[in-house]
Symmetry: C2
Subunit: 416 residues, 2 copies
Amino acid sequence: MSDQIQSLAQRARSSSFVLMNASTGVKNHFLFALAERLENEKDAILRENQRDVETALLSGMKSAFIDRLLLHEKRIEEMSLGLRRVAGLPDPVGEVLEGVRRPNGLLINKVRVPLGVLAIIFEARPNVTVDSIGLAVKSGNTVLLRGSSSTIHSNRFLVALARTALKESGLPEDAVSLVESTSHEDVKTLLSLREYIDVAIPRGGAHLIQNVVEHSLIPVIETGVGNCHVYVDDPADLVMAERIILNAKTQRPSVCNAAETLLVHQAVAPVFLPLVITALREKGVEIRGCDMVKRYVPDVIPATEEDWVTEYLDLILAVKVVPDLAEAIRHINQYGTRHSEAIVTRDYTHAQEFLARIDAAVVYVNASTRFTDGEQFGMGAEIGISTQKLHARGPMGLRELTTTKFVVYGSGQVRE
Amino acid sequence: MSDQIQSLAQRARSSSFVLMNASTGVKNHFLFALAERLENEKDAILRENQRDVETALLSGMKSAFIDRLLLHEKRIEEMSLGLRRVAGLPDPVGEVLEGVRRPNGLLINKVRVPLGVLAIIFEARPNVTVDSIGLAVKSGNTVLLRGSSSTIHSNRFLVALARTALKESGLPEDAVSLVESTSHEDVKTLLSLREYIDVAIPRGGAHLIQNVVEHSLIPVIETGVGNCHVYVDDPADLVMAERIILNAKTQRPSVCNAAETLLVHQAVAPVFLPLVITALREKGVEIRGCDMVKRYVPDVIPATEEDWVTEYLDLILAVKVVPDLAEAIRHINQYGTRHSEAIVTRDYTHAQEFLARIDAAVVYVNASTRFTDGEQFGMGAEIGISTQKLHARGPMGLRELTTTKFVVYGSGQVRE
């Protein structure tokens, strides 16, 4: 099996030399061809997906899991629409980022080029399969997909459609491959193939990401763990503050940019806490508060150290009263995962200080953390939200799937 | 010891929140203060360095090693001058790279910010110590330095000077620390401290880099292994070709941007090979050639597969005759380390094809590979040459020691 993975990776590398220089037209042709195939083969896709769903049901998987796994007509249409939308986005490859003529006459251009070969490791969501294929090919990269065993039939079929669409578009089939084995040893093998794979991108929960980071010899782009905070300062528009924390916590609690902890300045706590906790509870949110919170709302569950570090991804919110802005910043820099952090304030200096001192991918004044998203940031599509500092930070679109190359035009220059 | 490393890293992290927002003036004050101390303490530096040199001599180290280790007045002056030069470079921190107003009124700016905490792992070159400190502090980063045991006295003294200069400039001393232990276990510990360290940068030979890549849980910026090629096309200006390969091979053979293999188109081989090999031999270069090369210059040492992959860093050159441009590109993409690759040609289409199809940090037409260098590219200073694709590729200056942060100014926006 390990030989088979190596051979897949080797072929992905060879194909990448073609994809790297494929024209925008050819890549878009592929995206449209795949979109069409998804629509035409809807019934067959649903049939293969049903096999995965039945296995999951038989092994007693939870309904949230089944929900992520399940495809239906609308989801297939969305997948197809997503591909057409990516076709409409500008091709990042070839952009000249900067250029200079040196005193010796050398012309040096810094040009955007594809990364090469991506390994995307993800969980039981067949829509991620199609989405990843679309973004990889549009940015000129070839891709090795390793989904979970629970989606094997769906993924096999979707990848086969993609390979047919590649062929149809005059591109090498091996630009998209599925790593079928899901044994941990084989994933380790995959993550050791530095010679053939340029970047590993885990798309999934904290456990998956941790696992990839620990085992990969290939550079990793980490995505997605978000222990996000909203800090309500003094002075703040408390009506706005309530609207923002309600949105950040409850609009979609299962995603990484949802808030997990509310910090409240002690001066506004007596007025604000009873109001906001009532409103949050009406939306079904369980509150875990520090001692000071209990003083104003006695029936909250006491928060422990554990609560400050937890990404609940659920209708639970940790709440803490802080003496001042400095302590809010200290708390966030200590416990946050450097994803998205917000302050609600009326004070100009406090706003600037929060923006400057918080170490995170995205920092907000007077807005919900829920905006950290490629679509919302105007990138058109997103492969994930990077919480690391190297390469890309925050929402990653097509550009973040590229690297650069210095192209130097000389006329015989040698170094003195 | 492991506790001590953890504590150093923790203090580097705390200090990084100060360095991140230090003004350009304060950072430059530090650079000038350290430059001055180096000059004033010249004798003491030389004395401490002498202790390292004596130990190295006693343990029978080679003269090349001693040369890298040894400081003398001129080297100290160069270190000091280097710091003053870095002070003169523009501060990369705070630059707004792009910005947009979204339809919902959110103002989103992408701002350059320091990486945070760097771990720099390097070999027996005390000038790297000072150089790394200067670049780290100017870019707003704190730094943990781990040099080799053979430079311990020099490094201890230089780091102490830096810490005094930090204090003098109102910056936290812990912004610069030396990891004194050189046991492999302790290096592993250092490379596992993801919580406190943002990036690991190895500066040294292939073995050091490989070791860091294999053991690090922290993201790594790889620098420096260069198996670089010069390809002489048909048609080419053969006088220019000879000048370029002589420069690329012999001007400074011990560095990563020196050429290691010469590829020659079969049509120019009969004329070019005898001439160029004679010229190279006059400069003391040993030639290892393929069978076709032996046909034109019978007394060359036969090249083996091993020669195509070797970075000699010495006056040795592998030479191969190729049937056409396509084979030259294939050879380079197979054996190269994606550092710097050059074509010498008169053909416009060949030049464009080489630039597009070679997968490397820097690709050249009609110029020596020796130009791959921060100074030569106009960056003013260089922390190394990245041969990886994530984050930075090619020469890395101050900008490459930064990341970005999205700063979002709202007025109460929540997500629908």
